[in-house]
Structure formats: C-alpha cells, structure tokens
C-alpha cells in the first residue's frame, strides 16, 4: 500500500509519519503531483493558519491537485478545514471539497476556552472511517476554528455547541481531531482509512 502525505507549509507532519509506521506502512512525504496522484491513499495533515497554508497550496498548484484526487484522501485538523469552502481564519477561500464554512469558536462563558485542547467524544458516526465504532469514543483535539453541523458530517462532537468533528463526501474523508495522537481509537480510524474498499 502506497500512502502519500502532502508536503506543505504546515506543522505536525512527523507525527502522522510515525503513526503510519506504527501501522506497518512507510509513507512518502511529497508535494510531487505525479506521486500524489499515483498513491493508493493520500493524507493531508497539519497544524497551521488557513490563509498562509492556502496561499502555499495555490502557489504550488496543490489546490487543484488535491481537489482532483480519486483515491481515498484523509484531511486532518487544518487539512480538514482547508477542504471546506471558506474559513473565517484570515477570511480565506479554501478548496471547496466540502460545502461548509469554517468558523471561530465563540466562548459562551468563562469555562469555554479557545482553543479546545484535549480529549472529547464522537457521536453520530457515519461511514467507513468509523467501522466497528459504537459512538462515545474519545479522540484528541487542538483547534480554535470548527466546521458547523452539515450534510457531510461523518461524526459530531460537543464543545460550546455541537459541530462536525469528521466529514465524508465521495473519496474525501476528514477529521478535525488528530487520529495520530488519539491512542488506540485513533489507530483504528487510520487503519479503517487504509482498509477502505
């Protein structure tokens, strides 16, 4: 199985490489169009800011490339946000794979801290990423912006209010949380991604 990880100006790519290795897969980290198109799976991970990462993707023509991919693609954290149509972070037009606008968490009271940092649970699970899940599983989040509930939601989480913590449309999958840092539950999600028919 050839797994390619999109190389761009976002942090936290090495933890995804480590997670793939723990599953017995040696991933290729690349921004080469041919290699990305030829891979069996593409992972679009990262931590970063929407406008600067999006500008980099456009400059390197990775925006059109990612949209055109036909194999299963998994966006993680900022990767998921960039796969939406627009982000309030830097008022940024994004890839438009998911018809959704990324919004900033607005605290309702003092206990609502932004970013959300830590373990929160998943409900309303849909699709192959969550095969074998019952709902209620905890995963690890670090984020200040969120995707509201929408038709593409593959999982929901409650922080301040309910929101979409995973998305799924055709061959595109995305998680707001970090499966690579979410213990055994996260490893099952990554394994499920590798096993999509």
């Amino acid at each position: 199985m050839d797994v390619a990880i999109v190389k761009y100006n976002a942090g936290n790519i090495c933890s995804v490489v480590n997670a793939m290795r723990r599953l017995g897969v040696e991933p290729l980290v690349t921004d080469d169009a041919e290699r990305l198109m030829a891979a069996d799976r593409v992972i679009f991970p990262g931590q970063g800011e929407a406008s600067t990462t999006m500008a980099y993707l456009r400059e390197h023509k990775l925006d059109r490339l990612i949209r055109s991919l036909k194999q299963p693609v998994l966006g993680i954290c900022i990767g998921m946000q960039l796969m939406c149509s627009h982000s309030e972070e830097g008022d940024t037009d994004c890839l438009g794979i998911f018809d959704a606008t990324v919004k900033r968490f607005m605290p309702l009271d003092h206990a609502d801290k932004v970013p959300q940092m830590g373990w929160n649970s998943l409900t309303d699970l849909q699709g192959p990423l969550f095969k074998g899940f019952k709902g209620g599983e905890f995963v690890y989040f670090v984020h200040s912006f969120y995707v509201p509930e929408n038709v593409h939601a593959a999982a929901k989480t409650h922080y301040i209010h309910p929101y979409s913590s995973a998305l799924w449309k055709d061959n595109f999958y995305a998680t707001q949380f970090h499966p690579e840092k979410s213990g055994e539950v996260g490893e099952r999600i990554l394994q499920n991604f590798l096993e999509i028919d």
Partner: protein, 251 residues
C-alpha cells in the same frame, strides 16, 4: 464534553527515568519509552517528560529519547527542562514532541513565550510555574525553591497568558511531595482569572485529591508522578473513581 486530563510526569536523567522503579511488568524499569507506553495503555491522557540532566551530552541523549517516544507513543506528550531559546523548542518539536514546557527561561526572557506562540502556535507553549505561599502571598520560585523571583503567581500567570502561553502548569511547592491534595484555592483563582487551561501539579496522594483538583480547583488537568510510579494509584481505577464521582474523563 471535553474530558478532564490525567497526566503522569516522568523525570529523566541521562536518558533514564529517575523515579518509577516500582512499576510492574516492565522489562526495563528505567526506560522512559516503555514506562510512557505502559501509562498510555492504562489510559493516561498525556505524558510530561522533564529532562533534569545538567550536561550538554545529556541534552543530546534527551533529544534522541524524544524521537523514540514520538515513534512509539500514540498520545500527546510535553517535554521540558533545559529549554532556553527558540532553537531548543524547534529541536524538540522537530524530534516529535507535541508541546514544550518552559519555566526559568520564561522569567529570564519573557519574550520567549511570545516567540514560541508566534512561531509554533500557543498550543505548543506550556509555561510551568513553581510557586510557594508565604503568609498568604503566592510567589514564584526557581531552581527547586532556591531562588525567589519576587513575582506574584497570579500576576505572572496573567502575563504569560497575555504573551501567548497555551497552558499553565502550576506546581504548589507547599503541597508538592506532601500528598495531602493539590492547592485548590490557588488553582481555582487561576482558573477564574485566566482564559487558558490550568494543569494542577503537586500534592496528589489519593484519588479524592484528583477529584478535588477538578471540582474545587477547577483544573483542566491533573499531573502527578510518584503516586503513579510507585503504583499507589492505578490510572484505570482512578478514572473509574472520577467517572463515578461525576467527572468527565476519557475511559
């Protein structure tokens, strides 16, 4: 709902854990990777590795260790000890750490907090504060209590929060090692005054101390070392207890 976090802390010297010889079923009791793995499997939500090595050689050993931890462990981990400048942060994050914890370097150069937040994001910047209450006044100390900075705990915590710290790791020196519970009043005041998560440290001796840190102390996370290392409290039983007490934890 966001879960309250339980965080074992491992002290590392020359690449080996200092405490923790009482841990069962480990091939190498002193191996920080194996100990961290065991905690992770038991349900620890995060790990903190503190490098207490003084020498330059030891620092290199620690960076290599961070790479091994990152390759093996599938939950977030923070590293601290000996971080003096941005280059140290860069080196440790590149090795695979999720967050760094800074303490005395922040006092020497408060701008470092701003720089870490701007270059790597607030979420990687944990500011550790060791403080002691003397005659009702909480002051920050360095070097294991030998140096009184003269800074008030709450003033300093607010300052680093404003500068972009992502979390505060507050250790009460009055409570550390005494095992009679965390400094819940000071914790609650920090939680009320700050807009970032607070990790309670110092004083855990029984399961109800964790409960009190979360309820009375309003802490987002509780850190402990010896009660876990010496097997006095198991993480699975602690989490079951907290759950039964109505506290949202990851089980």
């Amino acid at each position: 709902m966001l879960a309250k976090r339980i965080i074992p802390c491992l002290d590392i010297k020359d690449g080996q854990t200092v405490k923790g010889t009482n841990f069962v079923n480990l091939r190498q009791a002193g191996d920080p990777v194996e100990l961290g793995s065991a905690y992770s499997q038991q349900g620890a939500d995060e790990l903190v590795y503190l490098d207490i090595t003084a020498s330059h050689e030891g620092r290199k050993t620690f960076t290599e260790l961070v790479k091994r931890i990152a390759a093996t462990i599938n939950i977030p981990f923070t590293v601290g000890g000996g971080i003096n400048e941005l280059a140290d942060v860069d080196r440790l994050l590149a090795a695979g750490a999720d967050k760094v914890s800074i303490n005395s370097a922040a006092f020497r150069n408060p701008q470092l907090v701003d720089d870490i937040a701007r270059n790597f994001g607030s979420q990687v910047c944990v500011v550790a504060i060791d403080a002691k209450e003397v005659e009702g006044e909480w002051s920050c100390y360095l070097n294991g209590g030998r140096i009184n900075t003269g800074k008030n705990l709450f003033d300093w915590a607010r300052e680093v929060c404003d500068r972009g710290a992502g979390e505060i790791l507050f250790t009460s020196m009055n409570h550390d090692g005494v095992k009679t519970g965390y400094a819940n009043e000071a914790l609650a005041r920090l939680a009320d005054e700050l807009t970032i998560p607070v990790i309670a440290s110092g004083g855990a001796g029984a399961m109800e101390h964790f409960r009190d840190a979360f309820t009375q102390g309003k802490a987002d996370a509780a850190l402990a070392a010896s009660v876990f290392h010496f097997g006095e409290i198991g993480i699975p039983e602690l989490k079951s207890y907290l759950c039964a007490q109505g506290i949202n934890v990851r089980i």
